[in-house]
Amino acid sequence: MRRLFDPIKLAALGFALLLLAAWQLLADAHLISPIFFPSPLRAFAVLQQRVADGSLWLPLAATSLRMTVGWLLASVIGIALGAAIGSSRLARNLLDPTLEFIRPLPASAVIPVAILFLGLSNKMSIAVIAFGAIWPVLLASVHGFSSVPLELTNVSQVLGFGRWDFLRKIAFPSALPDIVAGLRVSLAIALILTVVTEMQSSLPGLGWDIFSAQRFYRSADLYAGLIMLALLGFAANHLILLLEWRVLRWRDLRT
């Protein structure tokens, strides 16, 4: 039985509140510079005010959209490439060395290239996000598609499935646990790169909000932005966990 008021959970909440309270007290006592550390109450006040006047939703939506589109692009390409590399030796031999060489490149290093080709635009941002977010889902897909149990491959051969039916009915579902795990890491990276490109190229969004708050030394706004980013990351992560729970229900069932 899970109790509603688990003492440990209360203690955990208390710990977080204690930290906030200590911060608030230090700020009130002017022991730490309010320029760097505005009191948490001020940060939450800013957040509350931005919710009230509606000025929060536009940047939040812009950041979420950018992150989602880039992530989706990375997912589609990553899964497709992963399926090719994981299930065909020719594709693996062709692509592996090139990909292995590009992979260690910090994703943010392609920003200059993307700017050259696409300008300081949303397209540029999405291209960079997709480039960086592709690796976890690609590697996971390669692993998933290449570790389909031999028995299942044989079953598919005996039943006379063609390549497409094999991928659709056997290989993809079999690789799905790996793919979903990769998708989760990719989404976290997508959020990071969204913030990076927004800051680098002055694109409207939470990342840019934080950046400009610093320019004008509005540190309460900065913290409000950070809190929103944390919430966004938390929400995105839990959406994938929800997806995982839905799609991989069969994995957790036991008699």
Partner: protein
């Protein structure tokens, strides 16, 4: 051998196509200077030392940040690993802080440290601390209970208990976290430089783009690829070295 040839098809053919099409005027895009120009630009940067200086700046900052993260991560991780209650109490706070992209702290770090090593290293440290922290907690918790009992029976003082029993026993697994964080440190350092910090490889890269030294930009990109590749190689081989020492224990 056949695999090597197959793997070379894509890079070689695209390089050749790139070079020939820009020489014959098929491709007039400025952004794609020729592979041969890139080699020349890279050579010049290597000769005048600017490339090595930038590399040094980036690497030293990444290492500095990694070192801070290692100390904090192992210290806090050991405590949280040894005291399960502490871990459960602090856990949710850790989980709330972890998903915030380190880069988002960059403006804050700028306000606190100004441009320079401090700004970059602090962001790197924030990004690198999580893998080390989490792996350390898991590693310390996985230590055989008997080992801890041995330490208690021997009545070792806390410090000796840490250095003689806990850390050596957990080292092998902590090492995994260190390797992950080392890779992260380079990525984050370059990112901070590209967005904000006027030093190192990332800054040189964005500067080359903004001043339309396209050949140099591509050369730096290739250099970063190489650097990352070598780092990965080193981490996956050398990183295992020290753990062998502990095995006889």
């Amino acid at each position: 051998m056949r695999r090597l040839l197959l793997g070379a098809i894509i890079p070689v053919s695209s390089l050749v196509a790139w070079e020939t099409s820009s020489r014959t005027g098929l491709l007039t895009l400025e952004s794609l200077s020729r592979p041969s120009d890139i080699v020349v630009a890279g050579y010049v940067a290597l000769r005048d030392g600017s490339l090595l200086l930038a590399t040094l700046q980036t690497c030293e900052t990444a290492l500095f940040g990694l070192a801070i993260a290692t100390v904090i991560g192992i210290a806090v991780g050991t405590i949280l690993g040894l005291v399960p209650t502490a871990e459960r109490v602090a856990g949710p706070t850790v989980e709330a802080l972890r998903p915030i992209p380190a880069i988002a702290f960059m403006p804050l770090a700028l306000m606190m440290f100004g441009f320079g090593v401090g700004l970059e290293a602090s962001v790197v440290a924030y990004a690198c601390v999580w893998p080390i922290l989490i792996v350390t907690i898991a590693a310390v918790r996985a230590i055989e209970g008997r080992l801890i009992e041995v330490a208690a029976v021997l009545e070792l003082p806390l410090w000796k208990r840490m250095t003689k029993i806990v850390l050596p026993a957990a080292f092998e697994r902590i090492n995994i976290g260190l390797r992950v964080s080392a890779a992260i440190s380079l990525v984050v350092a370059v990112t901070v430089e590209i967005v904000l910090n006027p030093r190192g490889l990332g800054y040189n890269l964005i500067l080359a783009e903004q001043s339309l030294q396209i050949g140099l930009m591509w050369a730096l990109l290739v250099w970063l690829c190489l650097l990352g590749y070598v780092l990965n190689l080193v981490l996956s081989h050398v990183g295992r070295g020290p753990t062998a020492i502990w095995r006889p224990l």
